[in-house]
Symmetry: C2
Amino acid sequence: MAGNKRGKQSFVLPQLPVITAWASVAGKKESEGPLAHTFDIVSQDTYFGQKTWEQAEKQMQKMALDKVIEKSGLHQNQIGLVYSGDLLNQCIGSSFTLRNTNIPHVGLYGACSTMALGLLTASMAVSGGFSDRVIALTSSHFASSERQYRFPLGYGGQRTPTAQWTVTGAGAALLCSAGTGPRIDSCTIGTVTDLGIKDANNMGASMAPAAYATIRAHMEDMKRTPDDFDLIVTGDLGQLGKEVLMELARRDGLYLGGRIADCGTMVFDTATQDVHAGGSGCGCSAITLCGELLNKLNSGKLRQILFCGTGALLSPTSTQQGLPIPGVCHAVSITGGSD
Amino acid sequence: MAGNKRGKQSFVLPQLPVITAWASVAGKKESEGPLAHTFDIVSQDTYFGQKTWEQAEKQMQKMALDKVIEKSGLHQNQIGLVYSGDLLNQCIGSSFTLRNTNIPHVGLYGACSTMALGLLTASMAVSGGFSDRVIALTSSHFASSERQYRFPLGYGGQRTPTAQWTVTGAGAALLCSAGTGPRIDSCTIGTVTDLGIKDANNMGASMAPAAYATIRAHMEDMKRTPDDFDLIVTGDLGQLGKEVLMELARRDGLYLGGRIADCGTMVFDTATQDVHAGGSGCGCSAITLCGELLNKLNSGKLRQILFCGTGALLSPTSTQQGLPIPGVCHAVSITGGSD
């Protein structure tokens, strides 16, 4: 059965998992951005009816989970497995979403790469026949992230030009062994890359080398070129990280051309929404995928994309101890539903 | 390919992954306990030569990773994938272990169930042919856990009788598609169970319902009885949690008899080592498995075990906000190498 592995980091899926349903939940600021029309649910209440921001994040995940199940026409007890994770300490957004649902759960930690990591691991479960009707789920919340990683919002700290704005949102995608919708054909598992960036306000730069390493590995392992894709979509490098990625590719002689898009610069209008370098957080790539991207893949407006979730694997403790920020990127190749 | 799923939560492995090598690293207190002779590496230095406890934990993981590769006779660049996670915020023990190793990495979060969760997910990757030579890795450290979850050690807080002692240790197991050693034949993925326990000093009680739910699901899904196993080994319920598990089974009419053992009561001598209810932490079940249990499975002293990793999915934030402690348990059925 070792025939599905390709090269050092990649694998193909003998039976292509079909993304039969997807759902997104977004906050107020996201609902004022360019992708507003693609979200299933938006809330003007930052607390989503809860008492704390952490519980608000749990609530968003729950809403995304319920919505994707509703859109699929299934019942909750027909879901075989949920892969999920988030940025909160000990991933409590995910744990509290799944509690007492009776749905088997594998907890992931991939920082902002979690949506891609969820699709990748869910693909193995579905294609290998270990489970069916598997959901990849994640979230982030601006206020819970700021409090945990940086400063309490009430402190009013000034943000650097390189800072990114954590997206308040949750996304869910349902993978099945059969059905109609976009399909996952191959994945590339990331390695943890650290080039010594220590500035926790410049996560784009810390993740860009990982993004480039994974994109290059995918092309080599799968014997593909960037031209095989309509879009190579990175998770949340932001404007600065995207420029670093383009520069790394240029120096290495890999022509990415106009193929690169970044969810961090798609989800917000960086010129008018005061988000500095762009969006970030697990929710950033999750709501961009589970709306804009999967909609366009499903309708045939996009034929093939490489969805590259990027994560900065820092903690406040590692930063306070003077350590650099390791980055990771996982890539999932998704083909349009109309083929 | 949907033929590998069994029941609601379980799956069988069409090609049994072989655990061809395993390694354990343990701290001073663990080296004074009943399993001392089974560890590959012990250190009397709590810092493992590092400047901080968090980096000490990273170092233990690195030592376990290097040791399992050495014992396997492979080189690092032959390892296809590492599944790992730990208790530190944002899993920095795992991320910093893997950085710049060039080994593909999937980050997990399962609290103290991580060793079982790693074996379970690695089994899918190996048996499905998505990767080969896959390592499951995890760690915990008494001092980093106390600081993060409870009080700084210097505070000298008194511990409750129900408290458990976080094991300082790391374990690694290498799964291959061929070779000799104990083999994984089936797994049961846990659901997140919450019966309302809110006492962060009584994690055994919060995890016991999850342990029972998963053990029962394994028996039902796989049409097995406890008599099919020499041992049903829970992760770290401790003495109190183990009693709760036995009581839940008794009320439900499932006779567990003398089959139940708990890593939390195996790794320490609870009568003399002042650990109160027993050991805990990701390292607890990891070093018990990657020493005592796999050694005995390999030599034929154990024929078949159900290894049930248990995790308390709390965070200090959720506890401070008055929320209960969800529990999870993942089960891996391992058959002896001599069959």
